[in-house]
């Protein structure tokens, strides 16, 4: 499965936010979208998943125009976790995760044995099994984020879209979510597309990185190809070195010392 965005233009009224964006996302890979604040990263993610309408261009999923999918049908191919989501505080974890099975439910029917098995399975893979009887209110920030990932995972999608999944989490929980994403991709083969702020994380987990600047694609490629001092200067306007350290597979970014 592939997601192709061709010459995408997104905006409100006369304001153009995304201009002539052409990107390809492959299943089974981890793709990160990075860029400065306001560059349009989240907008691309939303347009590619039909959360937002686009004005020009097209989004093709599995060789078919995204607009030709029925809502429920699309929800069985892609799962999207946006930045904004909320659940009534009294919802229990297993209850919330079960909503992920909604796209697979026929009208008026209830969950089958298979649905419950999938719900249990995703709660185990995301490490929220021990929380299943707790209410959302009782979960910490990191736990809540894992519960939401479990919910979209219960949709059994081929590609999972995550919008800044580590924002508002402390470093331990950020790394935990990144590890979870990597494991999910490796063990279940689900494709991951995420908008990330932390370039170090993008560098470490991604198979492919897409850099966006001012609503346009600046570059795309493997982390080593994309994360360069030149890109950091031109896109983020920061001085930095990207260096390899013995014993680490991926290079690290060293920012210039503050004056």
């Amino acid at each position: 499965m592939q997601v192709n965005c061709n010459h995408l233009q997104v905006g409100y009224g006369d304001t153009v936010i995304i201009n002539d964006m052409t990107i390809t996302i492959d299943k089974k890979q981890i793709t990160s979208i990075i860029g400065p604040n306001g560059s349009g990263k989240s907008t691309v993610l939303k347009a590619a998943t039909r959360l937002l309408n686009y004005q020009k261009g097209e989004v093709i999923i599995n060789g078919r125009d995204i607009r030709k999918y029925k809502s429920k049908e699309l929800s069985r191919y892609i799962g999207v976790l946006a930045q904004k989501h909320s659940a009534p505080a009294d919802f229990r974890v297993k209850e919330l995760v079960s909503y992920g099975r909604m796209p697979h439910l026929k009208p008026l029917s209830s969950f089958s044995k298979e649905d419950y098995e999938i719900i249990d399975k995703v709660m185990k893979t995301t490490g929220v099994w021990h929380l299943r009887d707790k209410s959302i209110y009782e979960c910490s920030g990191g736990e809540t984020q894992r519960v939401w990932i479990a919910t979209v995972l219960a949709q059994d999608p081929e590609i999972l879209f995550l919008d800044e999944p580590t924002t508002y989490l402390d470093v331990a929980h950020q790394l935990e979510v990144m590890q979870l994403v990597k494991n999910l991709n490796k063990n279940t083969g689900v494709g991951i597309v995420m908008v990330l702020h932390d370039l170090g994380q993008a560098l470490e987990v991604s198979d492919k990185i897409i850099v966006i600047k001012d609503g346009k694609k600046y570059s795309e490629g493997t982390p080593e190809e994309v994360i360069t001092p030149k890109m950091l200067k031109e896109v983020y306007n920061v001085d930095a070195d990207v260096i390899s350290i013995a014993g680490r597979e991926k290079p690290v970014i060293i920012y210039k010392e503050l004056a």
Binding site: K46, T49, R50, L51, K70, S71, K72, E73, L74, S75, R76, G79, V80, L81, A82, K84, H85, S86, A87, P88, A89, D90, F91, E95, L96, Y99, G100, M102, P103, L105, S135, T151, V152, Q155
Partner: protein
């Protein structure tokens, strides 16, 4: 799930007890044994006539009207993602009020068709608010704001008409303070048809209502058509409220109070919250009406007034106790 079952069982028992109490008390008090004996006897005793034609229709009306208003409130709270939404928010009360006041004060010869006009007024006001709020989709905040605006315009018109006709307000006041006194089995039959149709569709809305609680983007991701769902839920809600208002006038606070208490008792899942609201609202409205017609001997206090006066403080009390009532 066990807890929800228990809550519903308790409410059901409470409702049955309330029905018996309401049959028994009033300007003439009877014992349950007397009532049962009279109802099953062939002759038309005073007890039988009083219970059969005065008290029972009224009881059934309360038991039907409550659920219609409560279900309407439940659905609107999902549409708006706002716990303060009730049928008043989408203009149902103001629209029905405007139509009723216009008919009663300017075209009194049309009074026979008052329910029809009240229903049309409620529906019109609701459509107007949604049309004004529509901008490439439905944004709850815009509905609430345009609702406030339309409510204020209609409210001003209503006040003006009342001021100009201050000597002729008894009919208007009866309508504005929703009362179920003097209803016949005929009224009950109409209300039953409306309520059952409305509640049937309300039950069909449970899944989208639940999904909307997770935020628009999550609902969309789960394959829910957010705008369409909001329109459908609002239409069902407006139908339930408008039908009720047109038959018994305006009864405030049920649509707000009951869903809240239900949420505290069984949680926010509409699968259990909606049925709980329905049972609870029957109890609440029946209790309020029974209190209204017995608390001051010889005087009828409209159920709408009782609801507001007792419901307000009770609601505040529930909010203070919320910690304990939260479905954990």
């Amino acid at each position: 799930m066990l807890r929800c079952g228990m809550v519903m069982l308790v409410l059901l028992i409470l409702l049955i007890v309330l029905i018996f109490i309401s049959c028994a008390v009033g300007s003439a008090g009877y014992s349950v044994v007397e009532i049962v004996k009279a109802l099953f006897s062939k002759e038309d005793s005073i007890i039988k006539v009083t219970v059969m034609y005065l008290r029972l229709p009224r009881i059934f009306m309360a038991v039907l009207v409550g659920p219609a208003l409560a279900a309407s409130g439940c659905l609107l709270q999902a549409v708006m993602r706002n716990p303060l939404a009730d049928p008043g928010t989408i203009g149902v009360s103001a629209g029905a009020g405007t139509a009723a006041i216009t008919i009663l004060l300017i075209f009194p010869n049309l009074s026979m068709s008052l329910p029809l006009f009240a229903f049309a007024g409620a529906a019109l006001a609701c459509v107007l608010i949604y049309t004004l709020a529509w901008k490439g989709g439905i944004d709850p905040v815009r509905i609430i704001l345009s609702g406030v605006a339309i409510n204020s315009v209609l409210g001003g018109y209503n006040s003006m008409l009342q001021l100009l006709n201050s000597d002729n307000l008894s009919g208007v006041l009866a309508f504005m303070n929703g009362s179920i006194s003097g209803v016949s089995w005929g009224h009950v039959r109409i209300a039953a048809v409306y309520t059952f149709i409305g509640l049937f569709f309300a039950f069909m809305c449970i899944r989208p209502a639940n999904a909307l609680q997770l935020g628009d983007e999550m609902a969309k991701n789960l394959g829910i058509r957010v705008n369409l769902s909001r329109v459908c839920l609002s239409a069902v809600s407006a139908f339930l409220a408008a039908a009720t208002v047109s038959v018994v006038g305006m009864i405030g606070f049920v649509g707000l109070l009951v869903p809240h208490i239900a949420r505290m008792l069984v949680g926010s899942d509409y699968k259990v919250m909606l049925p709980t609201s329905i049972l609870l609202s029957s109890c609440v409205l029946l209790a309020a009406d029974t209190i209204g017609r017995t608390i001051v001997p010889g005087l009828e206090i409209p159920v709408g007034v009782v609801m507001s006066v007792i419901g307000g403080p009770f609601f505040l009390y529930m909010l203070r106790k919320r910690g304990k009532f939260n479905a954990g």
